[in-house]
Amino acid sequence: MGKNAVTAQLPHDTTGKPGVTMPVPRSEAYTAYLQSLRRRAFSIQLWQIGLVVATLVLWEVAPRAGWINPMLTSYPSAVARTFMAMLEDGSLLTHTWTTFSETIVGFVGGMVLGTLCAVALWWSPYLYRILDPFIVVVNAVPKIALVPIFFIWLGDVASIYAMAIAISVFVTILMLYTGFQAIDPDKIKLVRLFGASRFKVLTKIVLPGSVPTMISALKVNIGLALVGVIVGEFQAAKAGLGYLINYGSQIFQMNLVMTAIVVLAAISSVLFLGIQALEATVLRRHGGNKAGR
């Protein structure tokens, strides 16, 4: 009975004092179960590494064996050489930094602008009713179609930022507005009973209650902002990874194109991991559950 009580309390033990809890003897079946879990995790990792290696090997061997035209695909070894050369002369860093900083600015701009618009729509249901059909239509327009117009209107630098913002802002507005609407009406009633103004309802309930929605919007937007920047660079830029890809394909330098794509993949992974780390920290502080409304 006493032992049962201890086991039952374990999941609630949030004090983080592992030394205090009694060591529970493991049964043989449980040890076997844990071992099978570890084996499974290990075999999954093995498969993942194997897939990467197999792809690289196939990519290297297929052009060399004459199965495909090396002009079209280049080789991993050639890409690695280009990568090292560009790293040494510093050009890779310049291009990467250009794309990275443009993405961050566009991403933050899209988030801030989108949040402000969503707040305005929440504040005035009348405004929402007026604008709703337009937002839906504009959101459905492929923003990439606007690249040439942005270039003409805004020039080569500003058009890239505008593209990154345009591609992410409407999704942000729609996601956040939906999140605001999903806030428990009783929580709003609660603060209104304490005499809260609409502004206080916003700052005390609606915005903090929408933090999980904002994180979801961040996750979607980081990818979208990167797409916007690359497409913008295709059209306009004199630097950046999008420019490298475009330029490399025009002069048929597949090494250059592939290098830029590999770096691009690395950037998007880093950004996504960053958002994931942010999500973990914020949601832990935010009550530990995703349904934080």
Binding site: T14, P208, V211, G288
Partner: protein, 266 residues
């Protein structure tokens, strides 16, 4: 002067009617409600779901305005939410991103009460409800019954004179519900507040209140009322749990059950 003030009904609801409109129809939610609640009295309102009993609480709290009639608290007409009125919801409505103490203090924060005093009161309440070790925990770490006790502390921290309880136990499991209604009844009697409890649970109403008001189906009207007394228990008021075992309980239950005609519509 003071004499007459304290003799006045704490809450006077006079000829209150409420219509509300949707594009589809006009609904008469409440029809000519008259009710006087004395200071320190515990009144329960029972009715089937949709009879407008929660709407009546929203009217008393000042969040809604009646279409006709008036509501006064201690002779002052209700026009907006007042810090003198505390409200408890069916759900605990704790804010997941705030610690327990910050949840309890949200009222004081919004009403701009003295921070130091409010904090001391909040800590005192939490300690009395056995939650002192959870002061800095997040709501997700607490059980349903504990969360509802935090909600009670949040309500009482602003020291209201009138408490409006909107089915505050119905989201809890049966055992927790019985235990917590005992606990809360004891706390509220100690504090000597005026209380209006809205519920669809007849047993809860009889076991806790001094007077039970039965409401009809929509449009909500007051159908009849019962003064609840347990002479078999003696002079003192039984706790809700003891009341359920008194011989009078079954009689009240049967009468109110028949008056609600719950099985009429099929």
């Amino acid at each position: 002067m003071l004499e007459t003030a304290s003799a006045a009904p704490a809450v006077a609801i006079q000829g209150v009617t409420l219509n509300y409109f949707t594009p589809e129809r006009e609904t008469l939610a409440l029809s000519n409600i008259n009710l006087a609640v004395q200071r320190g009295e515990f009144v329960a309102i029972v009715g089937s779901s949709g009879c407008g009993k929660s709407t009546l609480l929203s009217l008393v709290s000042g969040l809604l305005k009646p279409s006709r009639g008036s509501i006064a608290i201690d002779g002052n007409e209700v026009t907006a939410p007042s810090p003198r009125v505390g409200y408890m919801f069916q759900k605990d409505t704790l804010l997941d991103w705030r610690t327990i103490i910050d949840n309890v203090l949200i009222g004081a924060e919004l009403l701009k009460l003295d921070k130091r005093a409010a904090r001391a009161r909040a800590l005192d309440l939490l300690t009395r409800y056995g939650l002192s070790e959870f002061v800095n925990a997040l709501p997700s770490q607490l059980s349903g019954g504990m969360r509802q006790r935090v909600a009670l502390a949040r309500t009482l921290c602003c020291e209201p004179d009138l408490l409006l309880l909107d089915e505050p136990f119905s989201a809890l499991d049966y055992q927790t519900r019985l235990a917590l209604s005992d606990e809360i009844a004891a706390i509220l009697r100690d504090e000597n507040k005026t209380i209006i409890l809205v519920t669809h649970d007849i047993g809860e109403a009889i076991s806790m209140a001094d007077r039970v008001i039965v409401m009809s189906r929509r449009p909500g009207r007051i159908k009849c009322e019962h003064r609840i007394a347990f002479p078999s228990f003696g002079e003192t008021r039984p706790t809700p749990f003891e009341a359920r075992k008194c011989s009078e309980f079954a009689g009240y239950f049967q009468t109110i059950w028949d008056e609600l005609d719950l099985h009429e519509t099929h």
